[in-house]
Each structure stands twice: as C-alpha cells, then as structure tokens.
Amino acid sequence: MIKESELKIEQAVYREIVPAGEYFIKVLKQGQTLRILDLEGNQAADTLFYNANDPAERYSAMDTIREQGNVYLSTGSKLVSNENNTMLEITADTCGRHDTLGGACATESNTVRYALDKKCMHACRDSWMLAIAENEQYGMSKRDITHNINFFMNVPVTEEGGLTFEDGISASGKYVELNAHMDTIVLLSNCPQLNNPCNAYNPTPVEMIIWD
C-alpha cells in the first residue's frame, strides 16, 4: 500500500549515500526510523536485520510472509524474526511492493543464472561477507547470512506457481521506511548486479536516512 512519510528531511539525525556494490552496516535503535531512498530508480537494496543484543535472532523471510499471509512487503508489514518477534514495521512506502523471495545474488548463483564465466563478477553476498569480516564487533559469520529482503524489487508470483523477475516498479525518489521495534543491526548490500535487465543493467546509489 502506498503511504507517504510525514518525516522531514531536515530533522534526520543521519544520512549516508551507499553506492552500488558497497555495503551499509549500522545499529538502528528501538524507536528510530530508517528510510531507504532509491535515488535513481529500479535499484535493489538487499537487506538483512539482526537483533543487536543477540544476532542469532534475525529477520526471517518465511515467518514474515506466513504470519502476514502475503508474499509481498509494503506499508503495515511487520518484519518478523526466527523467534517470531516483530523486529521492524514498514511505516511508509512510496514504491508499493518489495520482494523477499528472490534472495541475494552471489558469485556462485550467478554461474547458474547467467553463465559459468560470470563467476568472478561482484555480487551482494560478497559485499555481506566483506561487511562481516570488516566489522568483527558484531561477531557475525557466514552462518548469519540468511534470506533477505530486496527493497524496490518486483518479483511477482503467479497463481500457477510461476515466479518472474519483472522490470522494477520503483523510480527515482521512491522510498520505504522502517520503524525499529528492537535495537536492530541493519546489513545492506546495494546490489552490484550487471546481468539482470530489471535494473536496466545499471546499478545506482541508495541513501540511508535515520530519524530518532
């Protein structure tokens, strides 16, 4: 559901532009709101969430869609952990639909999806691996790299059981906002994918904006 935010940009406490192919990792405090802004349109923001006090509790795509009874995420979606607690809630969304079934690109899965000789091209899971390696204070390892949300991605499921990657429904300036119900580690890879027509083969920056 489309819902615009009432938050004012001049009251934001933190702003950071994340170029495609880079990662973002930061603790969002309980009560804070994070906006992910698609600066140029049809970008994919591959995002994972963890309980900052116990990262073994993390966003669970399967528990989230089952508990809300719908496979797409938008305003009102409660993002549920593997312990079935609400971690965050989507409080504003000008895109209308976000994917959590398609997972993140990886060098290995690129060999399957596109061609074996694409195996060394940059991918989201590599950005996450670097993020956890460079930020040892979170105590995370590959075991923590699980199934994510692809903000701004459009992956429709059909009644016959098909799943397709359609051109994005996002555009320059569209955003999604998440209010944290617990202290949450946000781990985002701004997708570097060069092989998928859904971003017009053109990965672009996103901005992360936080309000108290």
Binding site: M62, R66, N82, G102, G103, A115, E159, L163
Partner: protein
Amino acid sequence: MTKASADSAPTAGEILYEDIISPACHWSLRMRKGTSLKLIDVEGGANVGMLFYNPENLLERYNAPDTLKAQHTFKLTKGNCLYSDMGRIFCSIVEDSVGWHDTVSGNLTKKLVEKKWGQKSYQEARNEWTQNGYNSFLVELAKYGLGKKDMAANLNLFSAVGVDEKGNMKYKEDNSKPGDSIELRFEMDTLVLLHTCPHPMDTAKEYPRKPVKYQIKQAGSVYEDDYCKNYRDENTRGFRNNEIYHLGSCCND
C-alpha cells in the same frame, strides 16, 4: 527391508533400504551421490520438512531463494533441482506424483501449535505429543554441531501454498493423496535433515498425524538427455558446477 548382496553391484532402481518415519518425528541421514530418496505419503496429507547440508562443508546448505529464482518457479515438482547457496545441486526431483511442493512457509513452532490445536506435552501424551518442525530441526541440527543460525528456509514436501494476484497465500487442502510420492536423486553427497510434523498453515481441525515411508534406492546414471539436467538451461549449468566439484573423484561417473 531389502538389501543388495555384498558381492553384486546394485542395479538402477533397486531398493537398498526402506523404513517408515512415524508422524511428528524427526531424523537425519547422509545420502550418497548416485542414490535416490523416495518418500511416500502413506495415508495422504503428509508433510515432510527437509533441509540439506554438504557434509564436507556444513556452511554449504540448501538455499530456497536461489532454488526458486534460478528456475523461475514458486512451486517445486519433477524436473526441478534443489540448489545449495554455492551454485551446486544437492538433488533433482526425478519423479513426483504430487505436482506442487512448498519451500516458502517455514515451520510449525510450539507457539503455533498452541494457537492452532493446543499443546499436548510428552508427559501427558507420550508418542502422541504435538511435536513441532522448528524444535525437530533444532534437535537434528545439534547432532552435527549446528544451531538455529543454520536453520535455513526448509522444504515442506507434499504440502502446497498458492498465491493469488494480490500475493495472498492460501494453503491447498488435499494436495497429496494416499500413495503419492516424490523421488530425489542426489547429485552430491548430502546430509539430509527431515521431520514429519504438520505444515505450519495446515487447516486441519485436529493436529494431523501422518506417517511417511522412505526408500533409499540405487539411482541410474545421469545421461546428457537427462530430464532434470535439461529442464532449464540453469539446471544444465548447475550440473556442470557439480561435475567441476567432483573432478578427480574416484567414483565420479
């Protein structure tokens, strides 16, 4: 139970072992490349939660999103391959009389059992207790030094959840009939974790208790014209990744 005699090589399709997993139970086993696991829904309406790990590197595990997006599918059936997060194929679905298996709904938890049907403790109900899939996997994971961090999105074989044009999910009743089966041919050595607890969206009035029969079979050779290998171009490339992984192996065929 049948067993191949020690001095003759088993022939393709031969049943090497068979047994029953009782309702609301869990188990794990190592499947070798070149064998297959046939699961049979004895009474109809069964659910089998399943996870895969590479026994050589437990960090390589079944990845539902990679499996779905590689094959542009939401449901799993004959021809589909079940992928690891490392671009390899744990197993191929070589036979399926059901037509739709779920991999997006996760597991029943203690809380969900309580909400749907009410909890029956072991003390009170013994083998008739209302075990849940989440705890079942925790027990099997712990046997291999793994924990809740390692519990990836699982398969729910024999169960189906459809999606309407708005994305609303609906559990399909009567998806699997008595005698329905699925056969998984293993394309690499695989640690298989499984449980027979109900699907988390099962609409039955009472906690359903369904046994599942399983057979370990000798698989046939995988030829160039193999159905699963040619089901999609992505699968042909997945099989190539497995071939590369097994280069130099003594038993590679």
